[in-house]
Symmetry: D2
Subunit: 391 residues, 4 copies
C-alpha cells in the first residue's frame, strides 16, 4: 500500500502533457487534469482547449498554460509542439467523439503519445485506421476506460485469471443513469446536446456513451471475447435523436452467456455501473458507486466482502492502491490509475523499453473492440433484434 | 395496521381445508400449512399427502389429520370429501407440476375450491382446459404466486396504478438462486430431482420453477401485458435435462421494454427475486430478500425508502400488514396473505357474493398466462433466440 | 432445515392455551396468538382478554373462544380453568406491565404454566417473589424476550460459546425507535398511554420497554454477566412522565466493556435493535430489521456474511429455522420460536421429564435480571450518573 | 458542480508549500501531498521530511524537491525559507504529535502559514500557547480534521444550521478501527509504534488518534458545545501503553445528550467514522466509508437518501463538490477540500483581506478544543469514570 508514483516523477521529471478539448464548460477535461495530477507524473504545459480560439486561450490562461502554448487549433498545436525541444510528450484528447480520430491522427503523426477518451471514434473504419497508425508509429495509445483503474476491478480480474471462479458461466453488466430522463438536450445543457447529436456522438447514444464502458469492463475482468450479440436499442424520450436505453443478450466465446443493460432514463440511478460474474465455483459482484468493495461468493461457503487494501487483496489490486482500507478511494483515483499506468508506459518508451508486464491500460485495440460492439448493437437493433456475429 | 383475519374466523368458523401432496420430505407443503395457519382462517382436516399410500397416512398422522380422512389417493379423497356433510371446502395442491392438472380437475369437479402451486400445469393446453373448467364450475381457483402477497409489492402496484411513475418505460425482473450450481439432482435430493425432470416439471426447468414467479410479479405490479419475448435458455450443468438459466428480452404492450433473468446457478444468490420499474416520472425498486422496503425514486427529488407500515404506505399495503414497521414480516407472512385473500373469496362464495374489489389473488387466468410465457420462452430458445408474439 | 413442530402436535395433541390481556385495540396479544399458531403447538381455548368484562367477552368471541371460557377477570379464569378436566395447560400474559405479577401468581398458584411478556414486573421485589414462586411450584415460566428466537441470534450465541470470537472485549447494544418523538400519549393512542404511565409501566419508560430487550439480548448472546453500569436517562419530550432515551456504560464481569443505547425519539429508526460484539479474534454484528443475516469478521481475514439456513450455519440455528435461506423469516417467526421452545418444555413437563438441553427460552430468572437492570439504571441516573454495582 | 480551484491557481500562481515530516515510510505525508495537488493550488518546494538528515534528503529527492531546499531540520528550514524571496508561504506539519508544537511555533514565528495534522499538540498548555501565538502573528493556521471536508458533512452542517432537524436532542459519534487488535507496535510497524508511545502521542492513544476526529466532526456538524463528559478508556491489548478503546457519555450545552465511541480493536471495522444526529423534527446519519450519501429522516415522512451532487444538495455542499453524483469522491478529495479552503484563506491573506464567509476550515481554536477533550476524557477515566466539566 504505497504511493510509488512520486518517486518516478523525481527520478526523471514529470511527463510534459498537452490537452485538446476540455475548456470552459466541459466536464471530462477537468477530470483528466485532476487524474493527471494525483500521482504527480504529468505537467500540463500546452493546450487547444476549445474549438473557438478565443475561448481556447481564455481557458488556457485559467489553467496556467503559457500564452505561447495556448493554441487555437489542434493542428497548429501538434505541429508547434513537435517542433519544440521541450514539446509535449503526450496529449490528452477530451473532445466530443467525432474529433477523437482527426486529433489522434495529428498527434500520432507528430510522434506524440496519445491518451484518448472513449468511445475511440465514431465509426469502425476510423477505429481500424487508428489501430494501423498506432502500430505503425509505435506510440503509446491509451483509451480512458477509467473504470478499469479501480483496485477492486483489478482484484476481480486477477481472481478470474487465478481460476477462483472456475469456468465462467454468466457475465452480467449494467450501466444505469437517469440524467436524460427528460429532454435535457433542448435546454442548452452542453453535455446533453452533443451526446444526443449523431454528428458529434456517432451512431450510438447511450450505447456509445456508457454501454461501451460496461462492455469493456466485462471483457477486462473476465478476459472473455464476445461471440454474438442481440440488441434492442430504445429512444424513450420523444424527439431524441439517439438511443437512451439499450438491452443486449450476449454469447461469449467458450459458452458463457450474459446480458448488458445500459440506460440513461432509469430514474433514480446516478452512475450505476455494476458487474456480476458467476462461474462453476464462485461469483463476484462489484458496483462502481461503492467501488472499494467486492463480493466474492464461493459455492457452499459464506459470502465474503473483500475490501480495497483489506485482507485477501491480491498484488494486482495493491499496486494501484494509494491509501489504507476504510479510507475510500473514488472515481478520480480510479481515473488517475489510468494516467499512472500511461506514465509507466511512457517512461519505459523514453528508455526504449517495454513497460513491465504488470502495467495495464485500455489500448487502441480495446477501443476498436468497443466500436465493433457499438456497430453490432446498432445493426442488431435496426434488424429488429437479430443475432450479430462479432468479428 | 390491524389483523382482521381473526374476526372472520370466529364469525363463520374456520374454512375446512384439504391438502394433496406435501407429505414427509416435501418443502412447499409445510409452507402452505404455516401460511394457512397464520391468519387462522383455515383448518387442515383431510389429506392425500403422498403418492405412496403408506407414506401418505404416516404423514397425515403427524399432522393430526384424522385417520379416516387420510387418503391414499387424491381421487378417493375428492370423492369422499365431496360426499361428507363436513367435507373440505378447499384443497391445497402442492404436488410436483405434472399432477397439478389432474388433481385440480378432480376437486373442481367435486365442487371444491382450489389453491394450487405454480406453475399451473405442464402444458398450455392443460392450462386452457383448467380455465374452462374453473369458469364452468364457478369455483374459486388461487395460484400461489406468493410473492404478490408482500405488502410492499401491493404498495408498488398501487403506486403504479396511481400514476406515481408516469408512463412505464422499463420493467426489469430477476430471480437468482444458486442451489443447482452443481448436479444436485443425482445426489438423491428430492426437490432437485423432480424439478429437473421434464416428466414431472414440464418443458421448463428454471423458467417454470422461478421464471414464472418473476414474470407474474412484473405483470402484477405494472398491470402491463407482454407483447413479445425473445429468450435464451441455458443448461450450464452437464447432464442436466432442463434449463438452469434463462435470459429474456421483453417488449410490453404500450411500448415499455424490459429484461427478465432467472438463474439457478448464479453462485452466491439465495432467493434473489427483484423488480425494478422506471417510468417517465419516477422509479421503484424492490427485492424479496429484504421485502419490507421499497425504493421510490422520483425524478429530480431525493430517493425515498418506503417501509412496510411506515410513512407513505397506501391502504392497499396496509390491509395486508400485520405488525408495525421495523418488525420484519417475511416469506411466510407474504404467503399467508395469499391464503387470507383466498379465505375472503371463499367466505364471499359461501354467502353467494363476490369478494370485495380490494381482494386480490393470482387466478387461473394468471396461471394460464404463466404457461404461455414458459411456452413462448422455450420456443424462442429452440429457434435460436427468435422473437415470439404472445397470444 | 425442517419443521418438526407439526409432528409433536399430532403425537400428543396441541397444548391448551389461555390468554390474559390482548383484547381489541391491543398489539402484542395478536402477535402472541400468531406466534402460538405458526408451529401448531398450541390451541387458544380460554381468555380474560380485557379489564372491562364486556370488551373481554366481545374480544373472545372474535377469536372463536367458547362463551363459557371467555372470562371477565383473570382471577375467575385461573380458578375455573384449574377446575376443568380440559383446562388450559399454559397462559399467555400480555397485559400492561403492572398486571404481570398478580396474573402470573394467580396462574402459577393454580398449577398452570406461564408465558409472560416483558419486563417481568414493575419492581425488583415483585420479580424476586415470582422467582421464588416459580421455583416452589415447579411450573414452566417463559418470558417473551422474543428477539432471542431469531436463528441468527442463536447462531451468534453458539459462535461465542464455541470460542470463535476469542475473549470478548466489547459488547455494544442499541435499540432505537422514533414513535415517541412527539407527545403521542396525549393523542389517545393506547400503546403510548400506558407505556409512558409510571403506574402501569413501572419506574422505567424506554429502559423498561425496549432497553431490557437489548440488555437481555446482549447477555443471551455473550453469556456474560454485568458487573457495573452507569446510566443517563433522558426525557426529551416535554410533559412526558418517563424516560424516552437511555444511554448506559457497561462493565461486564471478566473485563469486557460496552455501551447500551435505547431511544424512542431517534427520528428515522423504526425498530432498530442491533448487537455488536468484538473479541480478541473476531467480531459479530446483527441487526433485527434484517434478521436473516449475521456478519462474522475474523481478524485478518475477509468479512463473512452468514445467512439463516446458509453455509456455515450451526445446528443451534438450524433447529429453529423453518424455511431455506433467501426466504426471509421475520419477527413473527422469531416470536414463534419462543412458543415452540415453550411447547417443548411443557411437553417434557407433561411427561415428567426435563426438556432436552438444547431447548432454550428466557426464564423467570432472566426476567428478574432485567428488573435489576432497570432498577440500577434508574438509580444511576437519579444519582446524576453514578456507577452502580449489580447484585 | 465546477472545479474552480484551477482558475485561482493561474491568476496568482500556486502557493509555495513546504513540509515537515512525511518522509519515507510515513503514511499521512503522502496523503497531504496528494490533497495539495488535487485542486492545483499548491506547489511543494521545500521540506524537512525526516528527523534523520540523510533520510530527509533522500525523501526530498524522491519528491522532486531541489537539493538546496531539502533541509536536515525544521529549525534550519524555517530560518532559510523565511530569508528567501521565493520562500514557502505555508508549511504542512505531518510529524508525530509531540513535534507539532515546536515545529508550528518555529514557522509561525518565521511568518509562515501553518497546516498542521491533528491532534494539535500533546498537552492543553502547548495548545493554548499556540492559540496565543497564532493570534499574535495573524497567520493562517489550519488543523487537518479532514473529515469536515466531505461535501455531505458540509450538507449535514448546513441542514442543522437551517433548522431542518429542529432542536437537537441526540448526537452519537463513532470511530471504529481494528488495526490494533493485536500488539502491532512490537512488530516494527512504524505507525503503530509512535501512536502507542506516550512520549510521541501524548496522553491519549485511541482518544487522540481518532477520538478527536469524531469529537470535532460532531461539533462541526451540530454547532454545539460540550458541557460535560464521562469517559471510560480501556487498554485491551496486554502490554500496550495507551488506550485502544474509549467510550464516553456526553452532555451538550442546551440539553442534547450523546455518546462517543472510538476503538482500535473493534474487529472487522476498517475506518468506521459515523455520525448520527436526532432532533425534534428530523434525523441525519452519515458514514465515512460511504461518504457520498447522507440519510435525512424527517419525522412522519419517508426516509430520504441524499447524495453528493444529487437532488436536495445545498450550496454549502456544492461548492466543495468536484464531480457529478454517482461518481464517488473519496477520502483524498475530502482532504483536498481542507487544502482548497486553506488556499482561499492564504490568497485572501496575500491580498490583505479576510477570506469569504463561506470558507471553512478547522482552526487552532478547534485544535485546542480537541486537546481539552482528550484531557477531560483521560481525567475522567483516571477518576474511575467521573463527570468532568468542560472549560
Amino acid at each position: 500500500m504505497t504511493i510509488e508514483a512520486g518517486k518516478e516523477a523525481s527520478d526523471h521529471g514529470r511527463i510534459r502533457l498537452g490537452m485538446v478539448g476540455g475548456g470552459q464548460g466541459a466536464f471530462i477535461g477537468a477530470v483528466h487534469r485532476i487524474a493527471a495530477r494525483i500521482d504527480d507524473q504529468f505537467e500540463l504545459v500546452a493546450g487547444a482547449l476549445a474549438s473557438d480560439p478565443a475561448r481556447a486561450k481564455a481557458s488556457a490562461k485559467e489553467l496556467g498554460i503559457a500564452d505561447d502554448r495556448a493554441y487555437g487549433s489542434f493542428e497548429e498545436m501538434a505541429k508547434a509542439e513537435a517542433a519544440r525541444a521541450d514539446g509535449i510528450e503526450a496529449v490528452s484528447i477530451v473532445t466530443p467523439n467525432h474529433m477523437h480520430s482527426p486529433v489522434a491522427k495529428a498527434f500520432l503523426n507528430a510522434g506524440i503519445h496519445v491518451i484518448c477518451d472513449k468511445p475511440l471514434t465514431t465509426t469502425v473504419a476510423e477505429a481500424e485506421e487508428l489501430v494501423t497508425l498506432v502500430r505503425g508509429t509505435g506510440k503509446i495509445f491509451v483509451v480512458t476506460h477509467n473504470y478499469t483503474g479501480y483496485p477492486m476491478v483489478r482484484q476481480a480480474r486477477a481472481m478470474v485469471a487465478n481460476g477462483d471462479l472456475g469456468d465462467i458461466r454468466l457475465v452480467q453488466a449494467e450501466y444505469l443513469q437517469d440524467w436524460l430522463t427528460e429532454r435535457l438536450e433542448v435546454s442548452g445543457q452542453k453535455q446533453a446536446a452533443w451526446r444526443t447529436d449523431p454528428a458529434r456522438s456517432g451512431l450510438g447514444g447511450c450505447i456509445g456513451d456508457i454501454g461501451t464502458h460496461a462492455y469493456h469492463l466485462a471483457c477486462f475482468v473476465t478476459g472473455l471475447e464476445l461471440d454474438k450479440l442481440l440488441a434492442q436499442l430504445s429512444t424513450f424520450v420523444e424527439g431524441r435523436r439517439l438511443d437512451d436505453d439499450v438491452q443486449i443478450l450476449l454469447k461469449w466465446k467458450g459458452g458463457a452467456k450474459g446480458m448488458l443493460w445500459a440506460s440513461q432514463v432509469a430514474v433514480g440511478n446516478e452512475n450505476g455501473l455494476t458487474l456480476r460474474i458467476y462461474g462453476s465455483k464462485a461469483g463476484l459482484e462489484w458496483a462502481q458507486e461503492n467501488p472499494n468493495q467486492l463480493w466474492f461468493t464461493p459455492y457452499g461457503r459464506p459470502k465474503q466482502l473483500l475490501t480495497r487494501g483489506g485482507a485477501g487483496a491480491f498484488s494486482e489490486a495493491g499496486r494501484v492502491t494509494r491509501i489504507p482500507s476504510g479510507h475510500p478511494e473514488g472515481y478520480l483515483e480510479g481515473f488517475a490509475t489510468i494516467y499512472a499506468e500511461a506514465a509507466r508506459a511512457i517512461r519505459a518508451a523514453r528508455a526504449g523499453e517495454k513497460p513491465d508486464r504488470e502495467v495495464i491500460f485500455p489500448t487502441v485495440e480495446d477501443g476498436l473492440s468497443g466500436m465493433k460492439f457499438i456497430d453490432a448493437a446498432v445493426k442488431s437493433s435496426e434488424r429488429g433484434g437479430a443475432w450479430i456475429q462479432m468479428t
